[in-house]
Symmetry: C2
Subunit: 310 residues, 2 copies
């Protein structure tokens, strides 16, 4: 198993993806405290919030207040999710607080219809506008393709179609493409083949490709391993295993950042993230939410190696 990357980038998405999926809105002051705890871990990328309609997602109605209140180390790149031009307007009102914007659509027509009530072509047309304007504002641009490895409504999604959508988004100015296993249908063989093909595809060779796996059926870190072996060096995850897709109901979502960091660091793949500090942030969010979280390392604690003479 030689040839794994020496280091990877991890984007922490819990403050957006996780906080959005809680039934009860987390108080702004708690969000700020948790985000600042995350900022102390050494992570360099964080998706902090989203500018969406507050009547649709009240959990993130305080997006601007959170952005203005947090204090983070200078080397943390802050991204916000924007679904449309109006969302970008919201983000740009806090231009000096953000470094990146993320946009999204689904590779599957049915999932995209369910999620944003548009066809994929309509979504792409809208994202072109957002991505171009974000570029003019000097923002780094991330585009995430949900259901890249399978759709709960349509099932199989053709990887060639996903690559085609990705290349279109790059053409629109995206600096990074995220591939989401939105309902945890990917398996390691599929992931390996997918990223080998994507990294070699016309129009994607110069683009950072990010893997966003869910742990829906327990296979999240196995898919990470397969992606690493295919040369992927960028991942998204969520502290505490917060967030993710509520389809199927009751399923767990994103892979836990602390499980990801634990495995990578044990394998000698540097993350730049301090696991005990990350666990401190995860314990804090567990206390705020007052329920058990899905993260395994949060329950078990980090591996402690005792070697003779140490």
């Amino acid at each position: 198993m030689s040839g794994l990357p020496k280091s990877v980038k991890i984007r922490e998405v819990g403050p957006r993806d996780g906080f959005q999926n809680e039934d009860e809105t987390i108080a702004t002051a708690d969000k700020v405290r948790l985000i600042e705890l995350l900022g102390r871990t050494g992570l360099r990328r964080m998706e902090m919030t989203s500018f969406v309609r507050p009547d649709v997602i009240p959990q993130l109605a305080d997006a601007g207040a959170v952005l203005e209140a947090v204090t983070l180390p200078d080397d943390v790149s802050v991204s916000v999710l924007v679904p449309n031009p109006r969302g970008l307007d919201g983000a740009l009102a806090h231009r000096d607080r953000i470094d990146e914007v993320s946009v999204f659509l689904s590779a599957s027509e049915t999932h995209n219809e369910h999620n944003v009530n548009r066809s994929v072509a309509e979504s792409l047309a809208g994202l072109e506008v957002v991505l171009k304007r974000a570029g003019e504002e000097g923002l780094r641009r991330v585009a995430v393709i949900a259901t890249s490895f399978g759709c709960p409504y349509e099932g199989y999604v053709d990887p060639a179609r996903v690559r085609e959508i990705a290349a279109t988004l790059v053409d629109f100015g995206a600096d990074e493409i995220g591939f989401g296993d939105t309902t945890g249908m990917a398996n390691p063989i599929q992931v390996g083949e997918f990223f080998h093909a994507a990294r070699a595809a016309d129009g994607l060779a110069e683009t950072e490709l990010t893997a966003h796996f869910h742990n829906t059926r327990g296979q999240g870190l196995a898919n990470v391993l397969a992606a690493l072996q295919a040369g992927v060096t960028s991942f998204e995850s969520s502290f505490g295993e917060l967030g993710g897709c509520p389809v199927p109901k009751g399923a767990t979502g994103n892979i836990a950042s602390e499980d990801l960091v634990s495995m990578l660091e044990e394998m000698g793949v540097a993350t730049g993230i301090d696991l005990p500090r990350l666990l401190e942030a995860s314990r804090a969010v567990r206390d705020v939410l007052a329920r058990p979280l899905g993260s395994h390392t949060l329950r078990a604690g980090p591996i402690e190696w005792h070697r003779a003479g140490e």
Copy 2:
């Protein structure tokens, strides 16, 4: 990722490892019903119970009654765990109901002392007696080495020492060696290197080598993938993610059989196990235990692929 095995063997250990680790003893009739549900899944190997002192492990005090009551397909190989000659006597009282015996020790001296109050050398001397007599009785012999990838007390465990113990057990007559990641400290790089070396080791080349992983830090299926890539074709797992080691406290244990089967079948590695029937057994044990279980696929359900034209 070519070269994965086309099929693997899975030993279901929930009826022993899982039932033993429940605070409340499961009624014998429930055990029999659950074991028979497992027997309908297509699995070929099951560790059904253990002959241990009932004052120490009352959860398995009905070992003989369970063995005598269950009806399973003829092709299911039934094993029982026996810690010592007295345990073997207990098992042999039901000789016509069993096909295999499993014995165990830890690679780490400290863990072995904590677990069975003996040195590794003392354990090996005792197991020699048990293995030889089991062989005379025509039983297939499985020897499991706990803490093969790390010990919660000693930390690092030298793989060369684990191989040496394994070769000794083969010399004593073991037909199969199981390597247990007892407290979930293994990572995929380590697992790959471990099994590459073990499969090439003197004294082990002709022996079936089995991987027994825990999901303590979420990495169980990633370790399965690494073991597959190193040529391992035999695994142990537990339905519902029951059982495992209570160190560290609160940690999850064995990988869930349904998560393992889901990933393997999705990758095209045949298990012979029918996932919907396995989930039926896992739902049944969840109902008996009346608590949420760790299994991910039990919560999310199996992947349903819908392809055009199907």
